[in-house]
């Protein structure tokens, strides 16, 4: 989900919330309504029209490789075969790239979210999603990533990326995602 969608969703949530009157309401301000940060950490727009700035000054910006669409780090999903928890060879480069990044950035933390298709028990699927997240966590650990940098969790069948009841959708949902924090 991109930020625009999230902002729209949080605006919608606010509308829905305003229309409801009972019980405990949770809002997603922690995720959806977070202010958009600029790349270099300064407030967005602060460089515009600032008097007295050195017109020849250069503030170097280094893109985090995580944000580089050409980097293998831009791949954050690892797919699994039906009833399988083995990381397929085609996803080894993705795991390797993330292990290198995490090993050279010891302050970065990653949430590994396992997912499943929606067939069968929600709780058993939650446990199966955990097994997928755990497979990725172990692979990263074997490549030297510190335990404190990782948390393997499961979303089970609760957050499907594809919602049709067909093989293509089920395959899309048999997945672990790397979510940097």
């Amino acid at each position: 989900m991109n930020r625009t969608t999230k902002l729209l969703l949080s605006a919608l949530s606010a509308l829905v919330l305003a229309a409801c009157s009972s019980g405990v309401k949770l809002d997603d301000t922690g995720q959806g309504a977070a202010p958009v940060e600029s790349r270099d950490g300064s407030a967005a727009g602060s460089g515009v029209g600032v008097s007295g700035a050195d017109a020849r000054g250069v503030q170097p910006v280094t893109l985090d490789p995580l944000d580089d669409p050409a980097s293998p780090l831009s791949k954050r999903s690892i797919y699994f075969d039906f009833d399988s928890f083995a990381i397929r060879d085609e996803f080894r480069p993705t795991v390797d790239a993330h292990s290198r990044y995490l090993n050279s950035n010891r302050d970065r933390r990653v949430l590994i979210q396992g997912n499943t298709d929606d067939r069968g028990s929600r709780e058993y699927n939650l446990a199966l999603g955990q097994k997928r997240a755990e497979a990725v966590r172990r692979a990263l650990a074997a490549l030297g990533v510190q335990e404190a940098q990782m948390e393997a969790v499961s979303l089970g069948e609760e957050r499907p990326r594809a919602t049709s009841a067909d093989e293509a959708s089920w395959a899309e949902n048999r997945r672990a995602d790397l979510v940097y924090q």
């Binding site: 409801c20 009157s21 069968g120 929600r122 446990a127 948390e151």
Partner: protein, 421 residues
């Protein structure tokens, strides 16, 4: 105390109003239907709830009664014309009166008589505020049911379930017939596995609001909610111990899901009670608290096992097929409802624990999350069959099914609350 609890509940959990509705479709009838005539109660017209009609609806939907219109107003003090009622086909007659008291509350007096023996069976009265008239009607239906069948009725019990509409998830509570909906939790993230404390004052559930599953205990009267299992990894599948002091949960502290006990008021360290190198999840206590049933794939496929609540070697319970999950124990501890994959579909099975005999309680093929009524006569489950997610209450003899649909969107994860007391 009861009145206070109800008043608190009413004040804090405002109904969603006209926007939230459920619909019930009943199919099948009981093996024998007891014919009962329900009179219009004296003083019942013009009230916000048609009390005798709600009583009749309850008894009729149970499948155990055939409700006959008495065709007249009959106060609890009126003499019942048993011969006339027999001619209408009734074996029993319910009559009553509703009186508004000076403090604004209502006194409902009601009486049941046996038209065959032409004798009074008994009578009672209730005093309730206007907003509890519907609850009072359910209590009257419970009383009639118990007097005529010898078993406790479940008409005044409530169910908790989760609805999903767009990107909103709601934890809802409704009367057993789907009416009177209140929403203790409204969230942008998924909610699963609600579970009632035995006294009906608290719900444990799993919420994904922290981008991972965390187990909360939610006190309904105050809206206070507290994470009781929030450890590294996933926290899920809460099941109350019968004494309400602890919860069995599935945690992933050491890798795969294993079953632990945690205090229900938070704090304390979790005590691990299974130790496999496979998945162990979906724990549920037997009613006597001595055993825990759970799902494990230690044998190569997910199956149901039973172990002592204090730990030790489990015994495998299910052997038919390669996918048997979500065990729930009946209130008398004698049977087990669970979900089985049969012929590629997921169905609810009822198993007699002593004999191993099994009957199917569903045939849609997209069922999950069974839950027993507190009198053991019904199992409610979620089904995706028939176009959208809805709830079904099936009688344990397999004869009657009630399907609840909602305009709240998809509804799932039903869990039947305890007797109202």
């Amino acid at each position: 105390m009861k009145a206070l609890f109800l008043a608190l509940l009413s004040a804090l959990l405002l109904p969603l109003g006209a926007t939230a509705q459920m619909r019930i479709d009943v199919s099948g009838v009981g093996a024998t239907q007891y014919p009962i005539a329900i009179a219009r109660f004296a003083g019942s017209s013009g009230l916000p709830q048609d009390v005798p009609a709600v009583v009749g609806g309850d008894l009729s939907r149970s499948g155990a009664f055939r409700v006959i219109d008495a065709g007249t107003v009959l106060s609890d003090t009126d003499t019942v014309d048993h011969v006339a009622m027999r001619e209408r086909g009734a074996d029993a007659v319910l009559s009553g009166s509703i009186t508004r008291l000076p403090d604004g509350r209502y006194e409902i007096r009601y009486r049941l008589s046996d038209a065959v023996r032409q004798a009074a069976i008994g009578g009672e009265s209730l005093i309730v505020g206007e907003r509890d008239l519907r609850f009072a009607a359910h209590r009257i239906a419970d009383w009639v049911f118990e007097r005529l069948t010898g078993e406790k009725g479940i008409f005044s019990t409530r169910i908790a379930y989760v609805s999903k509409q767009g990107d909103r998830y709601r934890l809802n509570i409704a009367d057993w017939d789907g009416e009177n909906i209140v929403t203790p939790l409204n969230s942008p993230e998924p909610i699963i596995s609600p579970s009632w404390s035995r006294d009906g004052t608290r719900l444990a559930y799993v919420s994904f609001e922290a981008r991972k599953p965390v187990v909360y205990v939610h006190t309904l009267a105050t809206g206070q909610r507290r994470p009781v299992a929030n450890f590294k990894g996933s926290n899920s599948a809460p099941a109350w111990s019968p004494d309400g002091r602890s919860l069995a949960v599935a945690l992933t502290i050491d890798g795969l899901s294993q079953i632990y006990l945690v205090p229900s008021d938070g704090g304390g360290s979790p005590r691990r009670i299974t130790s496999s190198t496979s998945i162990d999840t979906e724990p549920v206590f037997s009613p006597d608290g001595q055993s825990i049933f759970f799902t494990s794939d230690r044998g190569g496929s997910p199956q149901i096992y039973r172990m002592s609540a204090s730990g030790g070697d489990p015994t495998r319970i299910t052997f038919t097929g390669n996918y048997n999950v979500s065990p729930r124990v009946s209130p008398d501890g004698r049977s087990l409802a669970y979900v089985a994959r049969r012929n590629g579909g997921f169905v609810v099975v009822l198993r007699d624990l002593a004999s191993g005999n099994e009957v199917l309680l569903s045939d849609g093929g997209r069922e999950e999350s069974p839950s027993f009524a507190p009198n053991g006569r019904w199992v409610m489950y979620a089904t995706g069959s028939g176009g959208r997610d809805s709830l079904v209450a099936a009688s344990v003899d397999g004869r009657v099914r009630q399907r609840l649909t909602s305009n709240l969107g998809d509804i799932r994860e039903p869990t039947w609350g305890p007797f109202a007391n």
